[in-house]
Symmetry: C2
Amino acid sequence: KPNFDPRDHQHLRYNPLRDSWVLVSAHRMKRPWKGQVEKPSEDSVPRHDPNNPLCPASTRANGEVNPEYDSTFLFENDFPALQPDAPDPGSDHHPLFRTKAARGVCKVMCFHPWSDVTLPLMQPEEICKVIDKWAELIEELGPTYPWVQIFENKGAMMGCSNPHPHCQVWASSFLPNEPALAERCQRAYLQKHGEPMLLEYARMEAQAQERVVVENEHWLVVVPYWATWPFQTLLLPRRHILRLPDLTSQERNSLASIMKRLLTKYDNLFEVSFPYSMGWHGAPTGHYLKEDMNHWQLHAHYYPPLLRSATVRKFMVGYEMLAQEQRDLTPEQVSPPQSEKEDITSSS
Amino acid sequence: KPNFDPRDHQHLRYNPLRDSWVLVSAHRMKRPWKGQVEKPSEDSVPRHDPNNPLCPASTRANGEVNPEYDSTFLFENDFPALQPDAPDPGSDHHPLFRTKAARGVCKVMCFHPWSDVTLPLMQPEEICKVIDKWAELIEELGPTYPWVQIFENKGAMMGCSNPHPHCQVWASSFLPNEPALAERCQRAYLQKHGEPMLLEYARMEAQAQERVVVENEHWLVVVPYWATWPFQTLLLPRRHILRLPDLTSQERNSLASIMKRLLTKYDNLFEVSFPYSMGWHGAPTGHYLKEDMNHWQLHAHYYPPLLRSATVRKFMVGYEMLAQEQRDLTPEQVSPPQSEKEDITSSS
Ligand SMILES: O=P(O)(O)O[C@H]1O[C@H](CO)[C@@H](O)[C@H](O)[C@H]1O
Ligand SMILES: O=P(O)(O)O[C@H]1O[C@H](CO)[C@@H](O)[C@H](O)[C@H]1O
């Protein structure tokens, strides 16, 4: 019987942040693809389109006119999934028909006045402004809401309906499923192992250098051992940090730099503006602000849909929806070999 | 303050099969859609294409030639995600780098010799043959594997790369995440409430008639109270049934009939061959065959991606991937009003 080789033999890997497993079947990449091919993303976005509601000076759906902004620009989502004043459905329900109140706010934040740039094409100082704004949002909304989800859907493939560079912020009166899982798993890990899970993880990955994509003095980006999307990455600080506002200005500069490097690598991979959904997970806020949350470590997830090329995506469908997530190549196979990595001292 | 109205006010609903919540924001359907539009599905599939590896008498990737089959046809997947003999990765791993053995088989089953039909276009007797084969597969693979996932990816939008009507069967040496959740939740429900969860649920839905899509003497199809996909449905027997092989021949006929009615309704909704992923969840097999599994109730999930039309899908992206699943209209809004429902006695 042959020895186990993760590149040839399917196996399960454990995701300690979600307490679940992923099926890794590396040999599946060999199958031919005759399925759906995506439209390549438009490369001719006009820098300014007066009809685009995200552009400076445009009129939005609710009749408001955007300012002539020249950096970031934040406004309330005109079609929010969460509103601050939804009535309470009450709580006396049959166990099979349970419902709960959901309150919150949804905001949109433009990264830049130009529609034809993306984060990797922006200057580090411009990216820093985005990071500062993210931190401000957590500070502003955190006291009211236990969870403030900052996320970016990039590219038509990820349901993004506007090419203007922007992210969204949905703050909620409840802790959603995914952060609730991350909360429970990180809490249990610290209790059991005496160290915050993702602090230990970053240290081990930095040492192993098997799945590191980019790194610098303050940050590390890896294809996590338990990645489900083919090119999924996890962005981690090296120091123990609970939330975005805790970042020093040096760490913010360094974050802008590592984001630019990561996203440039993504764009270069298939020579296309790389689609993804990304988002920040920091320690919950609201009443959690007063609690000991040392089990948490700030991190960002990047979930890109592509698999083989700019137009062939990974479909998370039948087996994945009904049974378990499955990937077609190992996380190690998509991490650049050591030799291709930039010197960690050569970039801030 | 207005009274709570689920059609106007966002709220959370609890999914008792997954122990998680979905955010229901009905008012979101009002937003305009300028995002990605899918290609309408091809309507000119040739009945027989000698180059299609799923057709009778075609040569497959591994060189094997298909028989001139005239009903269903089962074969081993030529690019399996699971193989019966993968070596064991061992179990002595750091808690952040856990891996486990995964073994299994992957099969493909053609429903019909013609490429230009789909289940709703097939005769009830032809659908019955598919159901019999599904039951046989559980009987054959069940003793060896704790989980046998039967699933169908239909349509290019669901990653299906071949229009020939077919499903897949992936049997595994492990209980995957989703059935493991369903196992845990149903077990706890019976313990706490004294009745199998989905048996009670079907009875309550049949009585409420608020979310029923089609029903007959033996079966009920509802948009579950906790549905996440816009037109998601749950197919349930009225009688307590653990697994597909337990179905009587009358129940199989009646299942063929209700599947045909459900899938015809789906096709009529946007006048397109409706894409979806569907799959069966029966009680686990393998060593579970010898245990008391009365907390289980056989059921099938249908997960269709469409939202507004034949070409506009629901994107489960940023917020959904990072925080929580979210839907843009209530399950009640997509269930046909009582008056449109066929008389339950008029169809078998
Ligand atoms: O096996 P197929 O049809 O080639 O592939 C399809 O279904 C599989 C099981 O859900 C998925 O893993 C693939 O991403 C999808 O394209
Ligand atoms: O808010 P948008 O960009 O209109 O919409 C997009 O992101 C949302 C949050 O992830 C999703 O619910 C939508 O399905 C998606 O199309």
